[in-house]
């Protein structure tokens, strides 16, 4: 009986060709938490696709590898996945350094790569095989400025900049746009990603009495910023971005200090779209924690790839690359709309506010002059 089952399985495997898609994510070391979210997001997308008829009748087979946030390993993996595993396309669920380093190799090997959430502005400059789903930091910074000045009516703004590529690009874009809109930047400070104590800079900000504070950072920086701001009696709105977009932002903030924070992000949790509802519900059931921005972006990266293969009509790298620019659609989890000619995502930016310890939609920014990426 068992033998028969095995035989059937073998036949099953042989009769269905699979489409091999590669994924590199940090699963050990510093970025292991984001890496796991990204992996889960991608696995969920593959499951969704395979249970909804696959792509061109075939199933997707996801091969994933740990890059330990190490550019060296990401580069090595690029050769391994393309030449050994013969993947048809690759998703990056990793950070900027490894993604940028690997992008050059994928370009050289003529294999499409989609970066899910890495932010380095030069990633897509590696060539015409490299795409990015995540919002470009410049778009997000601009959107943040509109949110601050036009929607919240801020005139005096304080900026806190995290010292990595993400923080610096955001702050730069935010600053120039906010000044263009007529606001005044009254205070600026930089902090390191590892920083835990913001009381010193927050005390300085308090003296300047700005209308809002634009603080770049990840959720674990942000939870400290909002907690310590409340401690010091700073009640001005703090504006964040997709770095804050994790259920952990709210959980790690003390005394419900996250409430009232406004962010610009990709994932609209109040959306009525069926795919979003399915994703949010399924993710929490399967992995025991609410979905975050990283998971959503990686989910979409796989969905976009699937669409491109369908448009191409064949499993061919060059055809997929061309088809990628034609992908348009509604059934994505994030507000992804299409790629620009230089392969950056055009999307609507969602503004969310934390109320009662959960994220809610505040408004959408859809003005093409803000949301269209520029070089």
């Amino acid at each position: 009986m068992r033998k028969l089952g095995f035989l059937l399985l073998l036949v099953g495997v042989l009769s269905f060709a699979t489409i091999k898609v590669g994924l590199f994510v940090p699963l050990t070391g510093i970025g292991a938490d984001d890496g796991l979210s990204a992996l889960h997001g991608a696995q969920l997308a593959v499951e969704y696709i395979n249970s909804h008829g696959g792509v061109l009748g075939d199933k997707i087979n996801l091969l994933y590898y740990d890059d330990q946030t190490d550019p060296k390993q990401a580069v090595t993996l690029a050769y391994k996945m393309v030449q050994r595993d013969r993947v048809i396309a690759v998703i990056s669920g990793s950070y900027s350094g490894p993604t940028r380093a690997a992008a050059s190799i994928y370009q050289r090997l003529r294999t499409p790569m989609i970066a899910a959430y890495a932010v380095h502005p030069d990633i897509t400059k590696a060539g015409d095989y490299i795409f990015r789903v995540g919002t470009l930091a410049t778009v997000q910074g601009r959107a943040g400025a509109h949110l601050a000045v036009e929607k919240l009516g801020a005139k005096k703004i304080a900026i806190l900049t995290m010292d990595n590529d993400f923080g610096v690009s955001l702050a730069k874009a935010f600053k120039s746009e906010a000044e263009k809109l007529g606001a005044k930047i009254v205070y600026e400070a930089k902090f390191s990603v590892e920083e835990k104590d913001f009381r010193t800079v927050l005390s300085e900000i308090k003296k300047k009495n700005p209308d809002v504070i634009y603080a770049t950072g990840y959720y674990f920086n942000a939870s400290k910023i909002v907690t310590q701001a409340k401690e010091l009696g700073i009640y001005q709105t703090i504006i964040g971005q997709e770095g804050y977009d994790s259920p952990l932002f709210i959980q790690l903030s003390k005394n419900h200090a996250a409430n009232g924070t406004v962010i610009t992000t990709d994932l609209d949790r109040d959306s009525e779209k069926p795919v979003v509802k399915w994703f949010i519900k399924e993710y929490e059931e399967k992995y025991g924690r609410p979905a975050d921005m990283v998971a959503a972006s990686t989910f979409d990266a796989v969905m976009i790839l699937k669409k491109a293969i369908e448009i191409a009509g064949k499993v061919d790298k060059s055809a997929i690359k061309k088809a990628m620019l034609k992908v348009k659609g509604e059934d994505f989890v994030t507000g992804f709309k299409r790629f620009t000619s230089f392969r950056e995502a055009v999307r609507e930016v969602v503004c969310q506010v934390v109320l009662n310890d959960s994220f809610h939609r505040l408004c959408k920014i859809d003005d093409p002059s803000i949301t269209t990426p520029t070089r």
């Binding site: 699963l27 050990t28 070391g29 510093i30 292991a32 938490d33 890496g35 796991l36 010292d163 400070a189 930089k190 902090f191 390191s192 590892e194 920083e195 835990k196 104590d197 009381r199 010193t200 800079v201 005390s203 300085e204 674990f220 939870s223 400290k224 907690t227 401690e231 010091l232 009696g233 952990l248 959980q251 790690l252 903030s253 003390k254 924690r289």
Partner: protein
């Protein structure tokens, strides 16, 4: 004024980690990088017991005790065998252990940050716009109490005497009838217990515990003990606070462009250039 409060709390944490490390270093002269892994273990055990028992103080004691035992294990099973080797050998073992520990925590408790929300039921103190939060109050009190305890142990017990004797010269201490093995184990127990205490306090203060939380303390604590003169307890205490004040003030001073860690190291290098053996050289008796 707010800066003074912040620096005091930051300094307390530095001191707790570094005093534990100094106890170990003082006797074995090992660059015990895995101390930061022990610190993380303390935080995780504390959080786990807190979820199980619901009492912060019970989980604090349990975690401190078990982490102390783990510290003894690190000495007995890993360091003891290589004490006669070149000093670089235990250093590399320590690095390897730190890698293993961090990855074990990830496998057991998952890679995500976990909140460690404890409410002590005391009110924040507010005077003239300066805030001292309940967590800061608890940290300051616990640090003060533990430092007094360490002082009493070191100066008024046989164990303390034995530890000081071993730190001076292990061979002589042995011939004088000190149980060297036991003394070293106790030093590891005490040092690791202090690390666990620091881990739990940081976990509660920052409201998060995660596998790689030892990354920064792994080198930062060494900056403190270098400034303190490598092995001097008083030195470590003073250096911890001095470093915390220097960092806080330099971060506040606008126009200073380097991050906190670089500041700490610059302070350290500057001190070493002037006093190559640290600010507080160990008194030789």
């Amino acid at each position: 004024m707010q800066d003074v409060v912040n620096a005091l709390v930051l300094g307390s944490i530095y001191v707790l980690i570094s005093v534990g490390l100094t106890l170990v270093y003082g006797i074995l002269k090992i660059l015990h990088i895995a101390h930061a892994g022990i610190y993380t273990l303390g935080a995780f055990l504390g959080l786990m017991f807190y979820h199980m028992t619901g009492s912060f103080w019970v989980s604090l004691l349990l975690s401190i005790f078990l982490t102390g035992i783990a510290g003894i294990g690190v000495y007995r099973y890993f360091y003891r065998k290589v004490l006669g080797e070149s000093r670089i050998v235990p250093l590399v073992i320590s690095i390897g252990l730190f890698i293993v520990m961090q990855d074990l925590y990830r496998l057991v408790w998952g890679p995500y940050r976990q909140p460690f929300a404890v409410n002590f039921g005391i009110n924040d103190i507010r005077i003239n716009g300066v805030v001292i939060t309940q967590h800061q109050i608890v940290i300051l009190i616990i640090t003060a109490v533990s430092l007094i305890l360490v002082y009493l142990v070191m100066n008024h017990t046989k164990l303390g005497l034995a530890m000081r004797a071993c730190a001076e010269d292990m061979a002589i201490a042995g011939t004088l009838g000190v149980d060297v093995e036991r003394t070293i184990s106790m030093a590891f127990f005490l040092g690791s217990a202090l690390a666990a205490l620091a881990g739990i306090l940081v976990g509660v203060y920052e409201n998060n515990v995660y596998p790689t939380m030892g990354e920064v303390p792994s080198y930062k604590s060494f900056v403190v003990i270098v400034l303190g003169g490598f092995g001097s307890l008083y030195g470590a205490v003073l250096a911890g606070f001095i470093l915390a004040f220097a960092e806080t003030l330099l971060v506040a001073w606008k126009g200073f462009v380097l991050p906190r860690d670089a500041i700490a190291f610059l302070v350290m290098i500057a001190v070493l250039m002037i006093k190559p053996e640290g600010l507080f050289r160990r008194a030789t008796r």
